[in-house]
């Protein structure tokens, strides 16, 4: 297997291609390596501060889970060479709508309203991009404002408390044994996302659309439908993330998710998904989100101020992305 990797030059002329393994490209694993290096570093230096304690590790997961959930859906959007800037504010809006519905009509109405919020916003985003060819950057930038504005308007900018225990338990606050509900949600979304991207025709078509839209269209891929669905899914998953915020903080509030779009995009790119489309990895995105959480946690334990944390975090992200960059020719 390894000899194939190293003898590439030699057998380039060998003629008929054979079904060998895909070649190893360490750049794809930068996020794994970075994760391990950072983890080891903090583990050694912050051992006394309790970095490796079970509770602290659970804390990291809890803090990253919601970003990771949104990053899974964003992986599809970016793989298709689109972008969704509205995820954070859709999460905020969905936290508010579901909170209002829960207090009026109960658990199921709350959950349904939250998801419906995502479906509606996603349909609008998707339709504007797919039908009318407006760049997703602009559509979702506009939607970011519309979603936040709506969330503030219908609540008079006040938090909406959620008193329904089952809602709070299922979305975010509860645990099964020692495992927090957030972690379970993250795992479900991750598993579904990974299988869909890697193993289904839809996933391949998303990658083809992002890699070369024209060639995908000439191959019978309905690229407009693909774009519609990636944006629909992104908003819907963002709405789920909003409900996780609502459940965890036992209230709906327009600020939930504020600014998350940048963390989500950073996690996806850090994970190795190509910003130009055509290549994506759900595993990478989730690890990217966890890596950002890990860094935040470690820096806090080190006693750095928030302002200093921001600087270090920014530098680490730039470094990791620079390392993960593919060679020339493939962009």
């Amino acid at each position: 297997m390894l000899s194939r990797v190293f003898n590439r030059g030699a057998d380039a002329d060998a003629g008929v291609a054979s079904a060998s393994v895909p070649r190893f490209d360490w750049r794809q694993y930068v996020v794994f390596i970075a994760f391990l290096v950072v983890f080891a570093l903090f583990g050694a230096t912050l051992y006394d501060s309790g970095f490796l304690s079970f509770n602290n590790l659970l804390n990291i997961v809890r803090q990253s889970a919601i970003i990771a959930v949104m990053a899974v859906a964003m992986t599809f959007v970016i793989s298709a060479a689109e972008i969704d800037l509205s995820v954070g504010s859709v999460a905020g809006l969905a936290s508010v709508t579901s909170a209002l519905a829960v207090s009026e009509y109960g658990f199921f109405a709350g959950a349904a309203t939250g998801l419906l919020t995502g479906l509606i916003v996603g349909s609008v985003n998707g339709a504007l991009v797919a039908r009318f060819n407006i760049p997703s950057f602009l559509v979702t930038l506009g939607m970011l404002g519309i979603a936040v504005g709506t969330a503030r308007w219908i609540t008079d900018s006040a938090p909406v408390p959620i008193l329904d225990d089952s809602f709070n338990t299922i979305f975010g606050s509860g645990q099964i044994g020692p495992v927090p509900a957030l972690l379970i949600w993250m795992f479900i979304v991750f598993a579904v996302g990974h299988i869909v991207l890697r193993k289904t025709a839809y996933g391949r078509r998303v990658l083809a659309t992002g890699g070369n839209e024209s060639a995908a269209r000439f191959s019978g891929v309905d690229t407009r439908r693909i774009k519609f669905y990636v944006l629909l899914a992104s908003s819907t998953v963002a709405a789920l993330a909003g409900m996780l915020y609502a459940g965890r903080l036992q209230s709906g509030r327009y600020q939930w998710g504020e600014g998350d779009e940048l963390s989500v995009i950073a996690a996806v790119i850090l994970g190795g998904t190509s910003l130009f489309g055509g290549y994506g990895t759900v595993v990478g995105s989730v690890l990217g989100a966890l890596l950002v959480g890990l860094i935040n946690n470690g820096l806090t334990l080190m006693g750095l101020e928030f302002s200093q944390q921001q600087i270090v975090r920014g530098a680490i992200i730039i470094l990791a992305v620079a390392l993960a960059r593919k060679g020339p020719g493939s962009r």
Binding site: S18, P22, A208, Y279
Partner: protein, 436 residues
Amino acid sequence: MDGRTVQIRSPQEAQENGIAMIFQEFSLIPTLSVAQNIFLNSEPRTGTKLLDDRQSERRTRELFAELGEDVDPKKTVADMSTGYWQLTEIAKALSRDARILIMDEPTSSLTKTESEALFDLIRRLKANGISIVYISHRMEEVFRIADRVTVLRNGRNAITDEVSNLTLDEVIDHIVGEKMEGAFEWREREVDRTGSPLLEVKVLSAAGRFRDVSFNLYPGEILGLAGLMGSGRTEIARALFGIDRVDAGEILVHGRSVDIRGVRDAMDAGISLIPEDRRLQGLVLDHSVKDNLLLPLLKGLQRRGVVDDRRGERTVGALVERLKVKASSIFEPIWLLSGGNQQKVVIAKWLAAEPDVLVMDEPTAGVDIGAKTEILDIARDLADSGKGIIVISSELTELLAVSDRILVLQDGTVTREMHRRDVGSEEELHRAVQSV
């Protein structure tokens, strides 16, 4: 250079040594004007170091006058025809005092008349002491304008000699490396046109693209579409494949009327298209041979919603072997393959879809002669197995080599239909295409 050893590590250093290259894919910025493009990164400045537009426009005019053309320097490049793009590239090279011009497939996007103008220009440049390295797949051009020819094969120098010492066959032998088996030679094939046609196109029209196009295609037949750029050849192919809509007319496959509104409909009707632009429309360059090949087939490879990769890899392996695609593995990114092998992958991806009608738009553009003959043989084999093939090509030699029947298109309509055996020579077809 001039007997001195020079080091060339960047395009700037090449430029300093008087070497300029005219790229196959033009390296102009479409949104800038002619003058802005020519003086990009070497703009004339005024005394206050600001850009001197008046001077750059005046010098642009002078450069074009040298080339025997009159061009508005303020015109945006995107608004001009490709012939002028190339002129602009050449003017840009001359503005930097280039003494060696490297032209890579300069006629590939030019019309016949534009090519003739380019040849005239090359002669004039030559007379002014400028040396030209002319890279081309078209032997006819090499023999017309070159003084000496070098054939490269597998990265090695196969032969360098005066053109006058060589014949076309000798050059082709050196390119192929072994005796060609007359792939460009036409062999009459038996086509049964008494049965029902595979494909019937009835008075198909699309505003501004083509009108009243009618023809039949029979099983086992290769139909050539000849015509100049813009004559409607590609537009008809795109309409048959559901890329563009038509305004009127009917398409029948196996005698049944089909309504083609999108690529999926065309595929369901058994029609496939090898598109004109391999890199833009045929392939996802960053993706592997396997992923490219399976893209149209994903629907059929699904089992309980999941793509059966094992079966996909077997399909790919078999096709890659059948078409002799040279790649180190099916997981190799497609941009690492040569043009000919890339094109074979595009063909393979449609073979697996098992279409009844295969439309090939410029199937051998930008591939070497060896791959060219292989591709023509694939077309023949497919026709022999009862499929209907439509071949579109600007290279008439190629059309004459494979077609059983040829439709000549002009300004969006079919002006002539010729049976291959009635076409005496390539000149005859040339005249029909140019309508002289």
